[in-house]
């Protein structure tokens, strides 16, 4: 799920809220972070990272994202 947010942020990270950028059939996977969907993707990632419960998952997703075929973030 966190990796998906990184990919969404690549398209639009600041000016739209995450809940405006996910499709209904995808909505279920974001159930655990319902209260954060009102924020833009980059802010969601930041807020998850400072939450102990999510910290490791965010770090793992960031490393996967950085090692993907996109050598620099754009």
């Amino acid at each position: 799920m966190v990796l998906k947010i990184f990919k969404i942020a690549e398209i639009e990270g600041e000016d739209f809220n995450l809940n405006d950028m996910i499709y209904e059939d995808n909505y279920e996977i974001f159930n655990e972070i319902k209260e954060l969907l009102k924020y833009p993707p980059r802010i969601v990632i930041s807020k998850l990272y400072i939450d102990d419960k999510w910290r490791r998952a965010v770090l793992k997703a960031a490393r996967t994202y950085l090692s993907s075929d996109r050598p620099i973030t754009r």
Partner: protein
């Protein structure tokens, strides 16, 4: 700390300034106890709609900057508002445009610390505002860890650190500041991580300004600090605002050629 002439618009090959000295000099002009100079209050569409206080004063002189002329001539623009007056105007703008987010923009918001802290205290207690975006160049957060610690106590604050370059040379060329200050925004990032502040990093990686190698160097430096920060990087594009066009011309970059160049990402 170096002293000298107060910098206005950046001219190529001008003597680099110490941004901490410029910050202090600017504060003498735009801060008055708990008050700070602002030019306007209204809401804009960025961040999904955000009430904005347009404040005066910065410690960089980027030639691609979009801020109004108050950046270069802070003595000539704006009126002083106490933290409470600024807070009321921001909330009024939020109400008028039906938004629940707020920020201070067009300046370096971390100047006038007392003003910012008082403003954030009021924002934090107000249910009408859900999020405050603190956009900074990272200079003061880089030199003062306690300032970051103080900001970490405000739960509605999300900091956006805006990087201007990937190398000390490019940093000095684009901002007018001394090369040694290049490292301060990276120190700010470390401080924000240390105090568990919600933040992300943005960088002016527009390929018309920044080469691929420089961009890779910037990302390498971010990865050395933290992979999440690097993966969550917001990349900025330079837009042809009236002020940007003039600043580019004064600096010696032809704005017509610049903005007619095709934007090709690496």
């Amino acid at each position: 700390m170096t002293t000298g002439k107060y910098p206005r618009m950046l001219v190529r090959r001008s003597k680099p300034f110490n941004p901490l000295w410029v910050a202090k000099e600017t504060e003498k002009i735009v801060c008055d106890n708990e008050s700070r100079k602002y030019t306007a209050f209204y809401a804009t569409g960025v961040y999904g709609g955000i009430a904005t206080g347009y404040a005066v004063g910065c410690c960089f002189r980027c030639f691609f900057c979009w801020s109004d002329w108050s950046r270069d001539f802070p003595e000539l623009y704006g009126e002083f508002y106490s933290a409470e007056e600024a807070y009321r105007n921001i909330v009024k703008a939020a109400k008028k445009w039906g938004v629940r987010r707020a920020r201070i923009s067009a300046c370096e918001p971390t100047l006038c610390r007392d003003h910012l802290v008082k403003l954030l205290e009021m924002i934090d207690k107000d249910d009408r505002i859900e999020l405050f975006i603190l956009e900074t160049n990272g200079i003061l957060f880089g030199v003062n860890r306690n300032y970051v610690k103080e900001i970490s106590s405000f739960k509605k604050v999300h900091v956006r650190v805006s990087l201007k370059a990937g190398t000390p040379e490019a940093f000095s060329m684009r901002t007018g500041a001394v090369k040694e200050a290049f490292y301060l925004p990276f120190e700010a990032i470390k401080n924000l991580l240390k105090y568990n502040v919600s933040f992300h990093v943005a960088a002016m990686t527009d390929p018309r300004l920044m080469s691929e190698n420089e961009c890779l160097e910037l990302i390498r430096r971010l990865r050395e600090i933290n992979d999440v920060v690097a993966a969550n990087l917001e990349e900025e594009i330079c837009d042809p605002y009236d002020t940007t066009i003039v600043r580019m011309q004064v600096y010696g970059v032809n704005p017509v050629k610049f903005f007619r160049k095709k934007l090709i990402w690496y």
